[in-house]
Symmetry: C2
DNA sequence: ATAATACTCTACTAATATTGTCAAGTATTT
DNA sequence: AAATACTTGACAATATTAGTAGAGTATTAT
């Protein structure tokens, strides 16, 4: 249960490949496809979406490819996944597009909401930079757990979110 | 993305209905169906699975129905969901049944693993008792966040899990 | 210019998983 | 023995995911 789409997974891995060379030469789609063992056609679809979301930029012509639009520490995993798979919506009731009439009287509503925010908090706090430095994942988790944050963007996503960001399922 | 199946959702709500009357008379499937607005046939399927997992027991004959097998504080949401939808497996690589050869060389592996454990920790720490008391969800979250746990079962699921439970994707 | 390289876009199909229904059967109690 | 209620397995409808195909556009090196 709670499966992540391959699109999302490939997207994150592709972004990682692009981030590896940042700042530097554009990364060709062909190269990413080879490294990550995904078809070029499928990757095109994915990168195209990411480009439209403004996370990457493309350079055409020979020697062209993709570049990060921002610094690695300014691109969170959460953003990448949302761009490709839409917002996290554990249940139909939590989906901003659908909403639920009963929400107030429903016990599980709070439960799913809390979980959703917890997940989103994690994904928004984790950036490409964290992936690049690799071993920082464990450290970061410890930080998250111990109530402190390591990298810039993260502060927005942590503690505050858990208690203040309530405008989501309200509909 | 990261949708929870209706099966899982209905299952949790059904368990909640059963827990409401605990300890006491068995709860008829018909009653649950009416309260939660789910078809009897679908619920039968769900409750049957839960019974086989040992979370509930059934009483036959007139006046029969379903009862909790354990105390509400001993039944976690995580257990309910795993029973109905199988283990949490964000990616194929994290799935205990599949595993991944590349796991060691893959950056995102740690990421999904960490997220999966975070989710599982949350779901295992949350019990039917918490749903019954309702307002404790917020409090519990605060507890979780602040590094302490409120109810029995929870201790197993929290801090330890984040740093020690590593046998999952190892395959 | 023009060929080679590389990104862009839309549509479509195949596979899979989810969601839920149906019907016949078994057990228990009044 | 009749009513109630759980039990089981098969199956159909639907939705989503995953991935392919192919035609097209832009850019640059020569
Ligand atoms: S039924 Fe919509 S929030 Fe529970
Ligand atoms: S490809 Fe299997 S862990 Fe990354």
């Amino acid at each position: 249960m709670l499966k992540l789409s391959t699109k999302g997974q490939y997207g994150v891995r592709a972004m990682f490949e692009i981030a590896r060379r940042h700042p530097g030469e554009p990364v060709a789609i062909k190269e990413i496809a080879a490294r990550q063992d995904v078809s070029v056609a499928y990757l095109e679809q994915i990168l195209n979406t990411l480009r439209k979301s403004g996370l990457i930029a493309s350079v055409r012509g020979p020697g062209g490819g993709y570049l990060l639009s921002r610094q690695p520490e300014e691109i969170s995993i959460g953003e990448i996944l949302r761009s490709l798979d839409g917002p996290i919506a554990l249940t139909a009731c939590q989906d901003p597009m659908e909403g639920c009439v009963r929400a107030d009287g429903c016990v599980t509503s709070l439960l799913w909401k809390a979980l959703g925010e917890k997940i989103e908090g994690f994904l928004d706090a984790m950036t490409l930079r964290d992936l690049l430095t690799g071993n920082s994942i464990k450290q970061k988790q410890k930080d998250l757990y111990g109530h402190k944050y390591a990298s810039g963007e993260a502060q927005k996503a942590g503690q505050q979110m858990f208690f203040e960001k309530t405008g989501k399922a309200g509909a």
